[in-house]
């Protein structure tokens, strides 16, 4: 209800500002009303989950573009240059009639539900398959009869594959053969509410005689709080397990159970884990209610290798606790970390940047070239051409060459035919006095 009231107020201000922009006589007032309108639209962007665009609206439109407008208005002194002319007098009623007609048609179309808003398109489910069954050996993974990955060894995972929504048959064949180690059918729903729709099918358990089971876990790849990661744990070990933080090695009092008693086949999601959290002291243990101290618990697998087990910020990590077979036939727990980037928050800068630098890189470059061309064009157009001819070195033009003027005065030609340099006639030797 608050949102509706805000929408009505802000939308009303936006429309009023637009009308005032049209009606005001002074162009500077029009520009200021347009800034008010842009600010209202930026507020509406915030209501529509587009914070990045709201900031762009303020910075680019209300800031850069409108400052340019104001500069030009004041540069030209064009505040009041709108005296109505006698021509095109028929335009005003025609424009009003056309606008009213368009508003009527658009209004009827929008309000009568002729615009289909009810069917948001569904995101196809993405499926990956994790092989955590110790006795099965390497397998080829098929979904609906299509090969997704071949020769997947125990402890490995396939990539995410987009599949059609609905029932999907997953078959794990023993590598290179058509013998199915396990075949199962899972139901993958499409989703229209979330940014990512990921599923993980985990083959776990089983022994030499019984085939492994397949569990389907829906991955939560949604946005995580800043500088945290989401950690989920799937227990594919035959017994119930604890996740224990042993703290410092010497101090038994700081041991604590992070998640206790995870049943086989169960998935547990931890609260958001800070990106700086060290997993060095974390370990999976068996559940033993008789143990007095946590340090007495039998450790199945420790997460002390920082190259493998780290908390990556903005990621959604699924740790699959599986089992692996040792040479003597006994089982040992093995942890498979599956780290995925969480989806960037809708409308935030990172989600726009992800699209901009992957799928829309070429349009982005084209826009950059366009802006460059516009910059050059603006400079060329406003460059003041000098219509006054530039002051040149004007030579005095003489009707007759200078040499002929000299010729007239001295009485004979000063240019000899073979030598083009003008010379004065040789001086006659004066008669001597003696």
């Amino acid at each position: 209800m608050t949102e509706v009231i805000l929408f009505i107020i802000v939308g009303g201000i936006a429309i009023t500002a637009a009308v005032m922009m049209l009606l005001s006589e002074n162009a500077v007032h029009s520009a200021l009303f347009l800034i008010v309108n842009f600010a209202c639209v930026a507020f509406l962007y915030l209501m529509l989950d587009a914070p990045f665009l709201a900031m762009m609206q303020i910075a680019v439109y209300a800031g850069a573009i409108m400052v340019l407008f104001l500069f030009v208005i004041m540069l030209l002194g064009a505040e009041k240059l709108t005296e109505p002319t006698k021509q095109f007098r028929w335009l005003a009623p025609l424009a009003l009639a056309l606008s009213a007609a368009f508003l009527l048609i658009a209004g009827v179309a929008i309000t009568s539900g002729q615009i289909d808003l009810s069917s948001p398109n569904e995101r196809p489910p993405m499926l990956r398959i994790v092989h955590a069954a110790p006795y099965a050996g390497p397998v080829d993974v098929y979904a609906n009869g299509e090969l997704l990955a071949s020769n997947v060894t125990a402890g490995k995972s396939t990539d995410f594959h987009a599949l059609a929504a609905g029932d999907t048959e997953i078959a794990l064949n023993i590598a290179g053969t058509s013998t199915a180690a396990v075949t199962t059918t899972v139901s993958l729903p499409g989703d229209n509410t979330k940014q990512a729709n990921g599923f993980t099918a985990i083959a776990y358990g089983g022994d030499a005689s019984t085939p492994p089971q397949v569990a389907l876990v829906q991955d939560n790849l949604e946005t995580v709080p800043v500088r945290t990661a989401r950690v989920s744990i799937f227990n594919g070990y035959p017994e119930a397990i604890n996740l224990v933080d042993f703290g410092s090695e010497t101090d038994p009092s700081d041991d604590k159970i992070i998640v206790g008693d995870i049943q086989p086949g169960a998935t547990v999601e931890l609260p958001p884990v800070n990106q700086d959290t060290s997993l060095r002291a974390w370990a999976f243990t068996i559940v033993n209610s008789a143990a007095e101290n946590l340090s007495d618990l039998n450790v199945l697998a420790s997460l002390n290798n920082p190259d493998v087990f780290t908390i990556k910020r903005d990621s959604a990590e699924l740790m699959v606790v599986g089992a692996e077979q040792l040479l003597d036939g006994t089982l040992r727990a093995a942890v498979i970390p599956l780290v995925n980037d969480a989806v960037a928050s809708f409308g935030g800068p990172s989600s726009i940047a992800q699209l901009l630098f992957t799928r829309y890189l070429l349009p982005f470059q084209l826009i950059a070239v366009l802006l460059l061309a516009a910059m050059v064009g603006a400079i060329v157009l406003t460059h003041k051409e000098s219509f006054v001819p530039r002051r040149r070195d004007v030579r005095r033009k003489v009707a007759k060459p200078l040499t002929s003027a000299i010729t007239d005065q001295v009485g004979h030609d000063v240019l000899t035919p073979d030598d083009r340099t003008p010379k004065l006639p040789e001086k006659q030797p004066e008669p001597s006095g003696d």
């Binding site: 949102e3 509706v4 929408f7 936006a14 429309i15 637009a18 049209l22 162009a27 029009s30 520009a31 347009l34 309108n37 842009f38 639209v41 509406l44 962007y45 529509l48 989950d49 587009a50 762009m56 680019v60 850069a64 573009i65 340019l68 407008f69 030009v72 030209l76 064009a78 240059l81 709108t82 002319t85 335009l91 005003a92 025609l94 056309l98 606008s99 368009f102 209004g107 929008i110 615009i115 808003l117 948001p120 398109n121 509410t193 979330k194 940014q195 809708f346 409308g347 989600s351 726009i352 699209l355 901009l356 829309y360 366009l370 802006l371 516009a374 064009g377 603006a378 400079i379 157009l381």
Partner: protein, 100 residues
């Protein structure tokens, strides 16, 4: 929760106000401002539909429209300055002849 229809309707109203500005005002600078208003209305509709269908592509288009609008304003205002210099007027009714 405001319905998408409300945003689209507001966007249509703003678009029409911009179109009326283009048709009725004779000042070339105001004409450009009205075009900006129309572009903004289209942007608002794009963002509303992006929210409705939960797709970030709509936001990306708004981003591109903003860049194109910036380029258009730069060129348009440069043209207005150039025309004002030769004609001493930016009334678009006086520009309908293709003379110097």
């Amino acid at each position: 929760m405001v319905q998408t229809e409300a945003f689209v309707m507001l966007s249509a109203v703003l678009f029409i106000l911009g179109a009326m500005g283009v048709l009725l005002r004779r000042n070339a600078i105001l004409l450009f401002m009205s075009v900006e208003l129309m572009l903004n209305a289209a942007n608002l509709a794009l963002v509303a539909f992006a929210k409705q269908w939960n797709q970030a592509e709509g936001h990306l288009f708004v981003f591109f429209v903003m860049a194109v609008a910036a380029a258009e304003v730069a060129i348009g205002l440069a043209l207005i300055v150039a025309i004002f210099r030769t004609k001493q007027s930016i009334n678009i009714d006086e520009m309908h002849k293709m003379e110097g």
